[in-house]
């Protein structure tokens, strides 16, 4: 069954076989878990975070037991994953939303964050002073000068969102001792 689920996700099964596996794959907790773990593996291969972490401890345990099974198939999975995930999600109510992010992924920007450094341009300010800014930032970007400190967006993002990560919190708490309650 495990092999069948793997094959299903890789798009290697005929239509009637795929239907049978979709039906069968959620018949037991064990197979549901397999199905789910394989999706998580697919996600992590593509650099996405977990879609839905109902059973994180089990996932981690299962992941550590199966580190390399799907890795060589990356190319196949990327080609067929969305279609299969969509079809399966429609069929299997318990994993009804699994395919969603995968489907939407095509619309998401996946390139890494762009960092630009621009020379201070007096003229540029008039560009955006009007209510209709130019869509394109100042020309002559991408030239990152080496003597400039690296942009640290995370500190500001954390303050803006008011959602400190535990690592951030430890940094802050080290500066001033917290009071015992």
């Amino acid at each position: 069954m495990t092999q069948d689920i793997s094959s299903l996700m890789d798009g290697e099964l005929e239509a009637h076989e795929a239907g049978r596996v979709v039906q069968a794959c959620c018949a037991s907790e064990e197979q549901k878990r397999t199905w789910y773990v394989y999706h998580v593996i697919g996600d992590s291969i593509r650099g996405q975070a977990l879609r839905r972490a109902e059973m994180p401890d089990r996932i981690l345990a299962a992941l550590s037991g199966e580190p390399t099974v799907l890795a060589p198939r990356r190319r196949v999975m990327e080609a067929s994953f969305t279609r299969i995930a969509l079809a399966a999600a429609a069929s299997v109510a318990t994993v009804g939303v699994v395919g969603w992010l995968g489907v939407q992924g095509g619309q998401l920007r996946t390139e890494p964050a762009i960092a630009r450094v621009t020379a201070p341009a007096a003229g540029a300010a008039t560009n955006v002073a009007a209510n209709v800014p130019s869509g394109v930032p100042v020309a002559g970007t991408m030239a990152v000068s080496s003597n400039q400190p690296v942009l640290n967006v995370q500190d500001y993002l954390t303050v803006h969102r008011q959602m400190p990560s535990p690592e951030f919190y430890r940094q802050v708490s080290n500066q001033a001792p917290a009071t015992a309650r």
């Binding site: 975070a49 879609r51 839905r52 972490a53 109902e54 994180p56 009804g96 939303v97 969603w100 992010l101 939407q104 619309q107 998401l108 920007r109 996946t110 964050a113 762009i114 960092a115 630009r116 450094v117 621009t118 020379a119 201070p120 540029a124 300010a125 955006v128 002073a129 209510n131 800014p133 869509g135 930032p137 003597n147 400039q148 400190p149 942009l151 967006v153 500190d155 500001y156 993002l157 303050v159 803006h160 969102r161 008011q162 959602m163 400190p164 990560s165 535990p166 690592e167 951030f168 919190y169 430890r170 940094q171 802050v172 708490s173 500066q175 001033a176 917290a178 009071t179 015992a180 309650r181």
Partner: protein, 328 residues
């Protein structure tokens, strides 16, 4: 500009309360997009719901569990990010208690610039409608709920278009997308499982970590800082529709002194302006980064450094940063 001790959103509160009184979670409104918008904003506060949502913003994806109940007029909410080391935020109205069991620390704060899905509107629908044109899109079944898409088309290029999918019976936003000028999705939230209504147990909004640690350390500084202070800084040319919410000092790691923060909002998007010493080695050139809706722009001003972060296009962040000046 309002004084820091009477932030602009105080003026919105009566309208919010009125919204609560007028909204009933019964039949969906007709074809008026503004009514749909009002209902969606209200449902995030007044409905009880429990579920898990995924949030993708540019390169970042996170999965968050949320439970929200309303007892009388009080909102209670528990938010647990499921990635990384365990932690959670328990929220009572605007009071936030962030539990970090590994550090045995609970961090107290008040909601200032934070926005937690599905409560994505920080102002009444009328304020949102002053900056965006709402319209009704298609209806769709999302994770078992029928919902109505509400589109928000910005009236200018200073903000991003957005669409929210509002559940028919309650109005709760189940899914939301933010687009760039090319209509590509750059940020989205979606519930992956959701219960709405009476089935949500009230004890699910309590901290799950509190009982696990015998002796918590309490950091009250973030809450003290959130009370606000006159920073001495002003944005002389704020983008149209953005009102100042508050200004305060924030302690940030690696800084010898607190950083000034001014918060602006147009009812959907928010902008934080940070002003601090341009410490060694000083930054001499402007710099920016964009990831999803998160835009970051740094503008050196001699011995001071202005950094703007918000869910706005780069040109908007530039306009804000370049008009920062000392308040006369």
């Amino acid at each position: 500009m309002s004084a820091p001790d009477s932030p602009a959103w105080c003026r919105w509160l009566p309208a919010l309360a009125l919204g609560a009184a007028c909204t009933a979670a019964a039949a969906p409104p007709g074809n008026d997009p503004l009514e749909w918008l009002q209902r969606a904003a209200q449902a995030a506060r007044s409905a009880s719901y429990s579920g898990t949502y995924a949030h993708s913003n540019g390169d970042r994806t996170s999965v968050i569990r949320i439970t929200h109940v309303t007892v009388g007029k009080d909102e209670q909410e528990r938010i647990e990010p499921l990635d990384g080391p365990p932690h959670e935020i328990v929220r009572h109205n605007d009071d936030m208690f962030c539990y970090f069991p590994d550090a045995k620390t609970v961090r107290l704060d008040r909601r200032v610039s934070a926005r937690f899905f599905p409560a994505i509107f920080s102002a009444p629908a009328s304020t949102v409608a002053a900056n965006y044109v709402p319209s009704l899109g298609k209806t769709e079944n999302v994770i078992g709920y029928d919902c109505q898409w509400i589109q928000l088309q910005p009236k200018d290029a200073l903000r991003y278009p957005q669409s929210v999918c509002s559940e028919m019976n309650t109005g709760l936003v189940i899914r939301s997308k933010t687009f760039n000028a090319q209509r590509q999705v750059i940020e989205q939230y979606t519930f992956t499982d959701l219960r709405i209504g009476q089935a949500v147990p009230k004890n699910e909004v309590k901290s799950t970590f509190e009982a696990r640690v015998k002796r918590w350390f309490t950091d009250t500084r973030p809450r003290d800082e959130s009370k606000g202070v006159a920073t001495g800084w002003a944005v002389n040319d704020p983008p149209a529709g953005f009102q100042k919410v508050t200004e305060l000092h924030r302690t940030m790691p690696g800084r010898p002194a607190p950083v000034s923060q001014l918060v602006f909002s147009d009812g959907v998007a928010s902008i934080s302006v940070f002003v601090e010493a341009n410490s060694a080695p000083p930054r001499t050139a402007e710099a920016s980064s964009e990831d999803g809706t998160t835009t970051f722009f740094v503008h050196p001003m001699g011995d001071m450094l202005v950094s703007v972060l918000g869910e706005v296009p780069l040109a908007t962040a530039q306009q804000v940063a370049r008009s920062v000046a000392r308040r006369p």
